[in-house]
């Protein structure tokens, strides 16, 4: 079962949330971030080339222009491969764990997996981010020493940064699964 809704992130950009409901114990949420806009790309390229042309008129060395082109290309490739995240996915499988995948614009994927035994809870937390107060969803991990302590807080959807309404949807589904897992784990 699959459905898609559109939300907005904290800066106002459009996000698309895709929910896939594989079974009562397995759900997946996919957040797609806004694409790289042509306007910003053009603006950055023009700035770099203007600066390079200015330097060229000062120094009369044509190497500067080729260096500028080179830098622009490398910078764009590096940005697409290391910085720009296209899609963030959260996969919850009851009794196995939670997996978070970030896929970059160049196709690279980076995955983090957390075992269910380590997960204490999933909550929505507030944070002060520059001049705003934002909400974010995070996974609380158990402390192996202290039974009621928390060893780590893992934030989810860090680069998409959706708003509260999107987070509430994800939160509700995750809590259903966690409740289901706790019910089945306590019963023999």
């Amino acid at each position: 079962m699959e459905d898609e809704r559109s939300f907005s992130d904290i800066c106002g950009g459009r996000l698309a949330l895709q929910r896939r409901y594989y079974s009562p114990s397995c759900r997946e949420f996919c957040l797609s971030c806004p694409r790289l806009s042509l306007r910003s790309l053009t603006a950055v390229t023009c700035t770099v080339w203007l600066v390079a042309y200015g330097l060229f008129t000062l120094c009369e060395n044509s190497m500067i222009l080729s260096a500028a082109i080179f830098i622009t290309l490398l910078g764009l490739l590096g940005y697409l491969h290391f910085v720009k995240i296209d899609q963030e996915t959260l996969l919850i499988i009851d009794s196995l764990g939670i997996q978070m995948t970030s896929s970059y614009a160049s196709g690279k994927e980076s995955t983090t997996f957390i075992e269910m035994g380590k997960v204490k809870d999933i909550v929505i937390n507030e944070a002060i981010y520059m001049q705003k107060v934002i909400y974010y969803l995070c996974i609380l991990l158990k402390d192996p020493v202290e039974p009621h302590g928390i060893s780590q807080v893992v934030p989810v959807f860090q680069s998409a940064k959706p708003r509260l309404d999107c987070l509430i949807e994800v939160y509700r589904s995750c809590q259903e699964i966690l409740a289901h897992q706790k019910a089945t784990s306590t019963s023999p």
Binding site: E115, G117, P144
Partner: protein
Amino acid sequence: MVLKAFFPTCCVSADSGLLVGRWVPEQSSAVVLAVLHFPFIPIQVKQLLAQVRQASQVGVAVLGTWCHCRQEPEESLGRFLESLGAVFPHEPWLRLCRERRGTFWSCEATRRQAPTAPGAPGEDQVMLIFYDQRQVLLSQLHLPTVLSDRQAGATTASTGGLAAVFDTVARSEVLFRSDRFDEGPVRLSHWQSEGVEASILAELAKRASGPICLLLASLLSLVSAVSACRVFKLWPLSFLGSKLSTCEQLRHRLEQLTLICSTRKAENPAQLMRKANTVASVLLDVALGLMLLSWLHGRSRIGHLADALVPVADHVAEELQHLLQWLMGAPAGLKMNRALDQVLGRFFLYHIHLWISYIHLMSPFVEHILWHVGLSACLGLTVALSLLSDIIALLTFHIYCFYVYGARLYCLKIHGLSSLWRLFRGKKWNVLRQRVDSCSYDLDQLFIGTLLFTILLFLLPTTALYYLVFTLLRLLVVAVQGLIHLLVDLINSLPLYSLGLRLCRPYRLADKPTALQPRGAHLPPPQLWLPPQALLGRPVPQAVLWGAHLPLEAERGQAGLRELLACLAPPHGHGQPSALPGWHQLSWRVSRALWTLLCAPEHGRPCYHTLGLEVIGTEHMWGWPARLAALRHWHCLPWDPPPTCCGHHGGEHSSPRCPEHCPMPTLRTQVQRVRPPQQPQVEGWSPWGLPSGSALAVGVEGPSQDEPPSPRHPPAPSAEQHPASGGLKQSLTPVPSGPGPSLPEPHGVYLRMFPGEVAL
């Protein structure tokens, strides 16, 4: 109930057969290790499984059936597979079936007995999880096979989840040894069924490495035995050896080679990594050295270098002469005292003249020396660079001499000035009390003193200028040498193997699961990090500045300390809480270890050494600069008086929430003087568990004190020991003042645990 079945990706295309693996009841998961194909004889299968079980201690069994229908599904096969469930009884029985072209899979798990619990559902859901056997085995995420009993007991309770699965796969290597070319009674499919993965070169290297390592190890032991003989410990050679960086580097290289060629296998992955990193860095070093060698010896560059060296030295000497002429005149418009100027200038000029003649004396031999130095590059680029640094030091020896002269002169002048300034004001330095006292001088004393003071004062600019110029020159030379040493250290310590592994095979560097990381109650034994040799003997503030981060491990010392600590049992009573929190125990042990270390017989006379020490509590603090560590855990020291500190959270000091409740203790008031044995100690303040009445003073100073404590100048250590605590007594140095009447002077041992200074 959801049943998890872990299925290897290599068996996805295997033919139909039986599923062989292990059932983990705690997580209701079945780990499939291999697929056993038809035809088979059940007796032989059971024998094989029994053998594997005995060899690997893993409970392998037949878990179910695997059906891969390449054509239309056959009815007879289905019934045959069902009847197998009777031959190999297992609860629950898995049935995995894959239709042709792999679009549909069906997984069923059946239990023969009715579920006993009333609430459990009758039908099990099966979750199929694919895992890559090869990567699981290579990434070593499983528990190490050799575990001490304590660790094994602690971890089996807390491992769960995937660690158990990985452990199963790793320990069943016996099952993976047979491949499909073996003529055994059964045919298995697993990740190595196409042939055991190995490389010819690696195998040959392993076979050859045995005797080679033996040979090299014997050679190296010979070399180290020669270098450890008594001749090298005599004064001139040992002094030279400690000063020249080449000897240091050669020693380091010898250690590295010994590590590589040792015939013992590495016990755990960390040691293996270390060995591999050492091999990689030695190889890189030697390769770079050989490149340098070939460059040097080609096209007679050595000759050119040798020819250029003497003129360069001459040029440097000439520049120095110009500099001195400038100083003797009116440098930067300053007016110098002519007479002193001329004296100093001529003195230094004479020195330079001597130096030039020395260089000219050496000039015929330079080429030979350089040629042999170039040969040393075979041992590695680092050795060549250290030799270069030593050569620079030797060539600029005159600059060093000038610096020393200038500094001594300046130092003398400053001392004289300060002393005469005190006389000018009518005061005097009281050596006994270590403070400035007023004093009445005679008139002639005052007269001469003031005269001398004026003379020294007006000669100050000249001396100061010479001092400044030569210090700057020396700094320049030191900076150049420092850069070379930095490069040498970089080549020595860069972990190339780990870096390469990270780039090419990142799964080999997986982090250990938290079950294996020591935490909490069993903290690691106290690690004392002693500073490098260069810091010993320095005055305390300087050591702190230099040694804020002290990375050198003292393994030998640690081993000795551990033995010592083992025989001394922890104390009880005397106003201490009976159950010390982990941090207290640790710092108590460390402080006792510290005391034994300081007073151990090998340290000889009780002179004022500085041992900067960083107490390593939890693993979070390893490698932290001492000041940060102090700020974080300062309040949790056992010297906190209990009433003001522990009341808030019942004696628990392990959490970092302390700063809100406990103010920074200022314990200086408690510990200025060592009380003689008649006066009892302050009650909550016997952290070392020594019986009260002991005169062992532990001075702990807060991290930010306004006035420097006057007993900072280390007095003679006098610590009296109560005869009851036997173990410590033997290791104490004899005390000049015995227990008796009250001591008027401040004696005591001032221990400053944070920020890592100890001044005896």
